[in-house]
Symmetry: D3
């Protein structure tokens, strides 16, 4: 018997230095991609988050949900349209997006956390005036696609203080009450900066930033903000990775010591990143 | 000039005894019907609630949204079905109901309160484990129609303590994580009892309980719980009024001193009920 | 029925923006003149103050009481004497003034607030070392006429924190324990500055500052501190209005955003000033 | 040198057990007679009270002031009248009594405490609704002579919590706002019971209760409540001593462990009673 | 890479239910035997305790140290003597025992915890009046061998509230200040009851309670208090195991749900007992 | 009777200004020499400290204990060795020193304070990471003689906040866990600076600093830090007085207003210094 349990105990004590380092700190997790779709991954991610809470970390999960929105749109007879990867968002699309993100996706995550033994509260950017939106400026009018004008983190603090993990859908209103859909990566970066998070972790469907997307051996382990900007300018970071890297830059420039882009397809990647010295994915720092 | 402002001042001082009585107390409002649809009524109700908060009351708004659910169902090509006034709720209907109630209706109310100058947070029964559901027992299997098994009001207290008005959609999960749609009237009564509210106010589309529904002169101003039960048994209280009266009985038997069924079609009916001696609608007490 | 109650409700909601603006803020009221003598005005003022408290404002009432002092002096066979409008205050007069202001006038106001449903505590400048006095420098020796040397607002905070409205008579002692009578207008300005009040309201027997005291149409609605000083220098502001304007200047220069001189003879003038956009009287700002 | 300072130090350490016993406890002092008139005694009493506060006791001083009231009455041309030792109190007398007790006597005590280095706040029974009065029932109508109907000690707690010593004049109002003069001994007993004081000390002009008032050797050191009642019934306790003993009985029956009647003419009698084992005066216990 | 880290992550999530169960609870650990002597075991135990603290448990370590005391006695030329396994404790022995237990052993444990990243404070039963001793009644006079008369856990609460792990040597004084050496097992049981611990864990040099001490297969996994008493009476539990079992009985009868006797020679036995379902050693419950 | 008690009362009131000055302030007492050995002096010092606590001061006692260490060393067959007055501290000596200082001396002081009615907790520099040591740099290697590298006063604050007097033995560890013996005078100065004490009092076996050690009339009452440095440089301050004066300089330069070197052989010297104007010993100030 003793053999296996010894391993358990040894593992726990090896995690101790990491637990100590993050005790009482806030971590913002951008949740998206496969880790939000695959049933096993969803369960393992929920367990990871609940564990992070129990060892003393405050966790804010910021989630997207584009595929789910598109699916409901199609069921309602409306074909999703995109320009440069951004969803064209007319009034009806906006309504569907809010309905799906805040009413379905958000509550599924809350439910998963509850089943894993956690205490979570799901809100949108409208609640407690958390996110103030403004229309995103773009060459083409994309409709109700917004960006974060201001973060008022009071409601996050009120909930974290009482031990709740917060799940956030990134729909927000402008001062006139008009709803906007905000890119979840961007919102996560702004929220991480506003709450002075200890780190931002972005769960993605890739291993991290690649110098050559075709070559998995070209993973970049560590980047400064400056280097990240250069890779963006050089086009090495492209397409869906762009908002993720921008989000990390926003966070780090806003005072978050480290931002991580990791592979959410790997089970327990959150725990491995947080409680081991595995050094997975790409870390961006100041 | 002075004439009009005098009237304002006099009105304010006449409301003073009512303000004193409810200062620091919690009021649960069941929000539904026209007051939740008509734009002017929505705005006036939001102002009423914000005022109630500013004079020191804690407000919890429990809302339904059946018509909105039916409308989206139809847009998704699904015809709503009802048995004895209860919606037949298969898995797809359940998903649509949650999406609409929690994702659309709830956030519209939060937005209205924000525009009226309030600070509101919208949650569902799943958040913070607020409502635990179980399948409603019924002669006919209605699918995912649930009832309240338990109320854990911690998240309400955490939010009210920080000055937020809470807006609650009555979707909840059972211990296994299965979602159920709960009648909003019933949920409001259970929540009012759980937070030891000072009163429950149900906004409806009628003037109150009528001894003869055809005769508006037959309004009953005041009922004991016992009398209410008798009217239910006698079939005088029928159809949509049944859950509202049951909700009031649940609240009063759970320790809420008074429950009111009032006419939400009348602008500012909440303020009139709360801050004047008009005595509108029907009051049920212990 | 509905008609009248609608008006009530509408009035309440129109006051909402003002309630929001002053929620949690401190207001210092200089109480004097007719509003302190006429029975109906006393009652309506007390109701106004209690309402202000219930909608979340902290209220400090600073009162004078010269006529009452003179009356008791005469009953004790002592003829009041004045030089340039200031009472000649020998030891006996000082004793009578303290007795009347602190023992009679102050407690009458406390009683009126209690009858209106409020919770008030009446103190003098001696209590808790609130006001430290020094002899006023003047060309003629006026005896125990003092001015404010220092304000220690701890006792005000202790009482307001527990929800009490404070009523203050402006008798204070110097470091040696000698009592001085301090002009209530001056004391109100100093207290307003010391507690960082949101506004100072001076209840008087005139409509406000007049460019031509003979012409009621010459009311000045709004003045900067600089303009107020010019009107003082030019003698436009004269006699009893001088200390009121000086008090406003002290307050505004001490960080109080706005000071108001309004007509206490008009019932509910406090509420009208605070909760409507009537813009009565004269407002002095920075 | 060392000799004298040794004595100082030894004295301090001998007081230690008494300091420990009363640390954090509340003591109510009924202040009256010579100790309130003689300048030296006033100063020494003030020092005693300030010391009691600094070694951790909460002190409430309840004072009378009959002679001062009579003096002002005479100066206003009104001859004091008494029936069975109780002042006939018509409306004018009531006004004078309140004015003198609350406006003069109370503030003199506050001033004395301030000069001795203390922080005191003087209030009357009207403030914060501390004492609710009702007309005293008596065979002869004495006018506005009242008795304590109810004590609401919130304002005492608010002030003591912040370290203030409270000085209380025993004028109070009934529910209709009518003022009554309340016997200070009676009020002190009721207040001591309401705040669960550790002891009540009554400063008088005699050495304590005498079995034979003519014989100073007949001092009774210790009485149970029952014995005190017997001495009252037997007429041994007579005249001005009656309310003092009644006050002690009220206190002890209300849960105060010990009540003391001591000689306020002896300098520092408060300290001697509190911090030595001298056992001066008469102690009444349950 | 992923393989090993996956194991780490999986191990952590498997510990989650145990972490949840003990979060915020207090655990008393009786520390003794090999785990307190062997350098590797000392280090692993310290890590275990620090981890327990970081996942939200309050830990109190109660330690013995008999061998260390005997060793110093011998170095000081004094041969230890025992009667029925209890040390004969004359004044000099008492002094040595206190010196060693409180001055050496206690601080070594504090140091080990510090090196493992913890925050610990070491005290004895004398500090803050934590343990009140009285002379143990015995047939033979053993000198200054005491037992616990009373536990005053205030100092434990003060330290745990601030996040410190408390290390306790079981030397205590009686009311007269005389020192006594108290059996650490007994003290641990009394402390666990006094702080309403969630469990008591006794680290020993055996696998648990054996029905047949010669037969390691006769380990008893689970005992009720009643059964434990029977085994004591039957002599099955004997010698050094007696005080350990008595300690568990004291704890469980004092309201501690479970007490465990486990094998401290196994590395990380604390973690294995607490965070796995291994079920090592013997558990005594109510 | 009255005569003696009057003296008591007068003495108490004369101490009042000193009590007021130190109320709520922290005082660090370096305890050593005769006052720590002589039974009567120990008792009187304990009473003094308890009194200081009861009149509202926070007290930290930092003690040495060299003679006691030497005595136990000799009993263990080890001859103490000194170089320039500093103990040569090999590993065994270090162990004995810690054992005696933390296990015996510290707890005797805790016991004395308890018997005098106080609540004390004794800790060493290791507890709560209070003192971080480093090897003292010296010309000759003295072994484990350390100096204070850093003070982390959290544990002191936690204990004082709950009303405990802290007794501190000055053994501490470096980052690697190695124990060092730290000069108690030096530690006292560093602690006084770290907690922003109001004063440091060093109890010694001399009357204070002498310009001529042979001439008791040459006592220096008052020194600036600068003057103290000059006397050190000039060799006027020599031998055992050196660390005491250095300690005072550390304290005063660290923000402690005054440091006193007084004669602990005089009973109640602490009280005389603190609560009278006797001005004993030498005071060093900024």
């Amino acid at each position: 018997m003793a053999r296996d349990y010894q391993l358990v105990a040894q593992t726990l004590t090896e995690a101790l230095p990491y637990i100590q380092r993050f005790h009482g700190k806030t971590v913002v997790i951008k949740y998206g991609g496969s880790s939000m779709v695959d049933q096993d991954l969803k369960r393992s991610t929920a367990k990871d988050v609940v564990l992070m809470r129990y060892v003393g970390m405050n966790v804010i999960i910021v989630h997207g949900g584009g595929p789910q929105v598109s699916e409901v749109m199609r069921r309602m007879g409306k074909e999703p349209q995109f320009v440069n990867g951004l969803r064209v968002t007319d009034a009806e699309t906006m309504q569907i997006a809010e309905m799906v993100l805040t009413g379905t996706t958000n509550k599924e995550i809350v439910r998963d956390l509850m089943l894993a033994g956690g205490h979570a509260v799901g809100i949108s950017g409208k609640d407690g005036g958390l996110l103030r939106a403004r229309k995103m400026e773009a060459e083409v009018d994309l409709g109700f696609v917004g960006e974060v004008e201001e973060v008022c983190p009071d409601v996050l603090r009120a909930l974290m203080e009482k031990g709740y993990t917060v799940v956030l859908s990134t729909v927000a209103a402008d001062a006139a009450g008009q709803s906007y859909n905000i890119n979840a990566d961007h919102a996560a970066g702004a929220v991480a900066a506003a709450v002075k998070a200890e780190k931002l972790i972005s769960l993605t469907d890739v291993s991290g930033i690649m110098r050559d997307p075709e070559d998995t051996g070209s993973l970049v382990s560590r980047l400064t903000v400056e280097e990240a900007r250069e890779l963006l300018a050089a086009g090495v970071i492209a397409s869906g990775m762009i908002p993720k890297v921008e989000s990390c830059i926003t966070a780090v420039e806003g005072g978050v010591p480290r931002a991580h882009i990791i592979d959410g397809r790997m089970p327990h990647s959150l725990l491995i990143e947080t409680f081991t010295n595995a050094g997975i994915g790409t870390m961006i720092e100041g």
